[in-house]
Symmetry: C2
Subunit: 409 residues, 2 copies
């Protein structure tokens, strides 16, 4: 299901010069492409974004990783080691509304493409930078990747079992989580710029972005005075049984159903008791408040697990959900990939990539006027050289050919 | 450090009517407030957003949880069970640029405040809704909270140790992660609306939003043909040793340093060998490629751990980082809370709340022209009744008093 329009033209006419690679930067500019901006990815002529080669695929095509984070963009090749290549990027910067980069610390400035240089030629530019650590941090010159941000930003310390080492969430909060916050600030800056023409410098550190996603842990810490703990599948704040994952048939690694009964809504607990045939406990003071249940958490968890083990996780989720208690099966990536529901609703879409085959992948999940924006393929390396150099810089075909032959593009 | 301006006025003049509660909705509208929108939170006169009472604090004030997710907003009380209360919300909807809600499925429509009703009185409205499950999903009527979304959206299945049950990331990806994606779509819609006046309906399901944050797991699945696994502190994609957490002095629950050596950059491995005094292995084919190291991962991990155990995590991070290898100490919430670096750089700011005392908390982490936007307090319940009803609806003080005395506000 793909909508005409479907939000895909919110940013029509906005030009993004995209100097990003891997995920934190590309996830950000990809969102802007989904919303209709013209995102031009500048890549080196020899292999392009290193993300094209990550998680290599047997046929040597662009990695699925690259397809996932570069949908809907255009690609031009520019050799930044050539003075004429740098001049070309500056010419494009003059025509852009936004520039974004996530090179290693100091690299963009060494290229002569730092904020001051670009602002001098385009005072209205929105200049966005993602780094591992913030300017002025003791680690501002350090390299970082997703897992480093998750370690240094508190995320890992609150993920895992209480009596075991920290665990890294499989979700790439350090990369995509950071990219989303930068996208928000870019969009805010674009809103002000429309009309005023006023540019802005935006900077975000991956470490700093992590704090935004673990604010509940800061609330828990303020409430208890203790460093926020790890709590396995349960809540950091504790005191809420039953709350957690319960085993289901046939007992595979992801055969669990999450059950949550809110302290704020006593009805959840009563509905759950009715469902599992323990109405006798409704109103029993030993079980009827969150605090009372916290004192017999193991006993309660065992009682619920005895019931959940009779069902597979889908059936358990259906029965508990229909009873009015929040519940969710632990779905794995295979189940999500093959569930026709996600495809029917346009949450998973098929990328029809001419060289890299069809690939079913998550698109932008927000429905705009009834449907998520349609997915368009990631670009081949340098696919849009002629188009972009012609449209943005009004270069002739002969000039474009000469740039390629000279090794500039 | 707080900047004048500092991005805090990107959305100047934008009016948001905020019917959200808990976190997925409030985290979204809070970002819009940080960027300068006027966000008016509509709360019931009897206690307001249930988030005010969550994680109760001993002095009975607003929960820290509430302070964290409602900075910079205004609060008005409206009794939605009163016809005059509903009429008041409709009057405000006429004056708003954006309405957002995250009530249980069907609730807003039952109140007569559904999209069709609001669009009829304000055709330019941007109408944003967050639910647990998507329209058309078999679970569209089910309740959901952060942990349910993380279970059903694949996040938990890829988090935890390989041979153990799934774990819930401490980061509230289901709530704040969802809120950020909706903020992006709202900002895109606002950009188009400025000038065109065109409104839009936006819908996002928490389950669907999760897929956006685990796309690397879909890449790994496409590469291997297998459901994405759990990998503890390591990478889903494997094959990259050394990569993971290594124990440090004095051996507490978070005394680890994350070390990552990229397959794409052999220099990381060589620098690390030099640092730990094992230059003799540089160039040894049994260790010199990612594939070779993958076959002796345990041996390599033990060799590195022997070195990291001599240092505390801060010292280890400093030494490894200075050697040019990506590394990060696993910081806990207490260390982040008390590290002056975050406060000096404006990433942690002090909320000077008149009733709920000073509270040091993470603000918006993106620097706009040199500094994150300044933090302003969350509102007291109904603090802005007179101001908002006066400014938005031009009600007189007598009319405002009468509404309060009648129990409408």
């Amino acid at each position: 299901m793909q909508a005409d329009g479907g939000g895909g033209n919110c940013l029509e006419g906005v030009r993004i010069l995209d100097l990003t690679q891997f995920e934190a930067g590309p996830s950000c500019t990809e969102v802007l492409a989904w919303l209709g901006a013209e995102v031009v990815k500048v890549e080196n002529p020899h292999g392009g974004d290193p993300g094209r080669g990550s998680f290599g695929r047997p046929d040597g095509g662009d990695a699925w990783y690259f397809l996932l984070f570069n949908a809907g963009k255009k690609s031009i090749t520019v050799n930044l080691k050539e003075p004429r290549g740098l001049a070309l990027v500056k010419d494009m910067a003059r025509e852009a509304d936004v520039i974004m980069e996530n090179f290693a610390p100091g690299a963009i400035e060494r290229l002569g493409l730092g904020y001051d240089e670009i602002r001098a030629i385009n005072p209205g530019i929105i200049y966005a930078q993602v780094k591992g650590f913030g300017e002025g941090s003791p680690f501002e010159n350090n390299l970082a990747f997703d897992m480093i941000a998750q370690a240094c930003g508190g995320v890992m310390s609150i993920t895992g079992e209480a009596d075991q080492p920290p665990v890294k969430p499989g979700a790439t909060i350090g990369d995509t989580g950071t990219g989303m916050l930068m996208a928000i600030s870019i969009l805010g800056a674009l809103y002000r710029r429309k009309g005023s023409g006023r540019g802005e410098r935006l900077q975000l550190a991956m470490q700093d972005a992590m704090l935004h996603y673990i604010r509940v842990a800061f609330a828990a810490q303020a409430a208890t005075g203790e460093t926020a703990p790890r709590a396995g599948a349960k809540l950091l704040s504790g005191l809420n049984p039953p709350c957690g994952i319960f085993p289901c048939k046939p007992g595979g690694p992801n055969d669990y159903v999450y059950i949550y009964t809110s302290r704020a809504n006593q009805a959840h607990w009563h509905r759950l008791l009715t469902l599992i045939g323990r109405e006798d406990l409704i109103g029993n003071p030993d079980y009827d408040t969150g605090l009372a249940r916290a004192e017999r958490e193991e006993e309660i968890d065992a009682m619920i697990a005895e019931w959940t083990r009779r069902y597979d996780k889908h059936e358990a989720m259906r029965l508990i959900g229909e009873a009015g208690v929040p519940a969710g099966a632990v779905l794995d990536t295979g189940e999500i990939q093959h569930d026709p529901d996600f495809e029917r609703r346009g949450i998973m879409q098929n990328m029809q990539h001419p060289a890299n085959g069809p690939f079913k992948m998550p698109g932008w999940p927000v429905r705009h006027d009834g449907a998520p924006p349609p997915l368009t393929p990631s670009p081949a390396l340098g696919e849009h050289n002629a188009e972009v150099l012609g449209n943005w810089l009004r270069l002739s075909q002969a000039e474009i050919d000469e740039l390629r032959e000279s090794g500039v593009t």
